[in-house]
């Protein structure tokens, strides 16, 4: 059977009582081990979508099914990098990254015995995103981009089955960003997990994702789904290929259409 790993069925999300409609009739099916990207205009409900899938929020109508089970509360298999880094200010960067290991099984059980080993892993991970030497610093002693990278490490450290990244590279310069693309792709190739990536950078989506979902303006709906068959592993060279730029261009046009078209629809349609 090929049931989807993540399955959203006509999901609607309303904040407050009939106030703000964030998502409207969103339907998505993501296979196990698939890397998908979600793009769409600001405020269209991308972050809300992630919160629904991870179980942090419940849909107003419709169902969210992950791994065959309806989501009724926070999942235990998720690694999430929030749009804001939200590092805990009373923990050092290293301790922030180690946080999931203190919570999620089986690491939690093993942590006491193998702390040194786990710490080594966290340090290596921080080093890989360019934060070697900052393990002992507190989050508020890091620059915006550094916080974001630490937050990314925290989402990855416990090797979750479902990874959710909400604009994880937004505060980074192009080069750091591209380096991290490669690192992330590496990780994913070695141990395929399911990834939902929210991004504004179409090149990022095209570089990383198997499937790209384009969302409409608020209230968000999936208006376009685009398979990305570019061969893996993709490299910086790939980004200079014709296929790549065409893909980016195509996505661009879709979003452009979305933005223009919807301006005539009343704000809180439904």
């Amino acid at each position: 059977m090929t049931a989807a790993f993540v399955d959203l069925d006509r999901v609607t999300l309303r904040y407050g009582a009939g106030d703000t409609l964030a998502l409207s009739e969103t339907t998505m099916k993501i296979a196990k081990g698939e890397f998908i990207a979600v793009v769409g205009p600001s405020g269209c409900g991308k972050s809300s979508l992630l919160k629904l899938v991870s179980g942090l929020m419940r849909p107003s109508t419709g169902t969210v099914i992950v791994n065959g089970q309806e989501v009724t509360g926070p999942l235990k298999i998720v690694g999430m990098a929030f749009q804001n880094p939200t590092l805990l200010p009373w923990r050092t960067t290293l301790d922030n990254v180690m946080l999931p290991l203190e919570i999620v099984e089986p690491h939690r059980r093993r942590l006491r015995g193998a702390r040194a080993e786990y710490e080594e892993r966290a340090r290596a991970m921080l080093a890989s995103v360019g934060l070697a030497g900052f393990e002992g610093k507190f989050p508020w002693q890091l620059s915006g981009g550094m916080q974001q990278r630490a937050s990314l490490c925290r989402a990855l450290i416990h090797e979750p089955d479902l990874l959710m990244l909400d604009e994880p590279f937004g505060a980074l310069d192009a080069f750091t960003r591209e380096e991290l693309w490669a690192i992330l792709q590496d990780l994913w190739t070695r141990r395929p997990f399911t990834v939902i990536l929210v991004t504004h950078d179409l090149r990022e989506a095209a570089y990383l994702a198997d499937t790209i979902y384009v969302m409409s303006k608020r209230p968000g709906r999936i208006v376009h789904v685009r398979r990305n068959e570019l061969p893996r592993p993709r490299t910086l060279e790939t980004t200079f290929t014709r296929d790549f730029t065409d893909l980016v261009h195509e996505l661009r046009n879709h979003i452009s259409a979305v933005r223009a078209a919807q301006d005539t629809i009343p704000e809180d349609a439904r």
Partner: protein, 258 residues
């Protein structure tokens, strides 16, 4: 002012202000010829403290231990109840009126009941110190937990953390500044409680000392007792102010200037 000079002034501020208070107090007493039975001069009080130092030492030790006992109980119970109240709306609604009601009641009224149950001496004093001081801890811990930023909570929830995990990993750390603020209030209340209980029924402790001194019209000794309590309160505060400084540096990262 050079930074170094500033730091020195800063360090000696507490001393300066205390000395200042005593000087003003002494001068006021002398200038307005305030009679001793109304308000003794600090010098007379210090003299009395020195004269009766052995007795004061004994009584102060008793009061200190009693207070610490009650305070320890209050911290344990307060944090527990605060966690319950702050993390569950139902407990909050159920417990709040009872807590508020209980705490509006002067504990002086409760001491006699405790004495009747437990006899005269240390037990009612410890219990009074406990009963009077746990409430601020409950309120502040509960508030700290209730005002936890949902963003921080979501970090834990997204990992599938249990309620206990969330409490331990973000609730408590986040509530620490609230908690320490309440400790400052609670420790002073604990002293008030134990001393009060000693004045009501005991043969030991600074409360008894003050009561007996006041019945003999020895006001300097009464004030010596007050000063000793104040000093113990400050010492206690100083002790865990160090702990506060270490454990909530992140919250005070803004430094001094507003």
């Amino acid at each position: 002012m050079t930074p170094r000079a500033k730091a020195v002034v800063d360090k000696s501020m507490p001393l300066l202000s205390a000395v200042g208070l005593f000087v003003v107090w002494e001068l006021a007493c002398r200038l307005f010829a305030v009679p001793e039975y109304l308000l003794p001069t600090p010098s007379a009080s210090f003299l009395a403290a020195w004269t009766y130092r052995d007795a004061i030492w004994m009584h102060a030790l008793q009061t200190l231990l009693t207070t610490l006992g009650g305070f320890a109980l209050a911290v344990a119970f307060g944090v527990l109840l605060g966690a319950l109240v702050g993390s569950s709306r139902a407990v909050y609604r159920a417990a709040n009126p009872l807590l508020i009601g209980f705490n509006s009641v002067p504990k002086v009224a409760v001491v006699p009941i405790l004495v009747m149950w437990f006899g005269i001496g240390t037990v009612p004093a410890v219990l009074t110190a406990f009963l009077i001081s746990f409430f601020p801890i409950v309120v502040n811990v509960a508030t700290g937990l209730a005002t936890l930023e949902p963003e921080l909570r979501d970090v834990l929830r997204s990992l599938g953390a249990t309620r206990t995990d969330i409490l331990l990993k973000v609730g408590f750390p986040r509530a620490l500044p609230f908690f320490f603020a309440s400790l400052k209030v609670a420790v002073t209340l604990a002293f008030v409680g134990s001393v009060m209980s000693e004045t009501v029924a005991s043969n030991l402790g600074v409360g008894y000392l003050m009561m007996s001194a006041s019945s003999r019209f020895n006001m300097p000794l009464v004030f010596a007792g007050l000063l000793v309590i104040a000093a113990m309160g400050i010492a206690m505060y100083g002790a865990f102010s160090v702990i506060e400084h270490r454990s909530t540096r992140w919250a005070h990262r803004g430094g001094e200037s507003l």
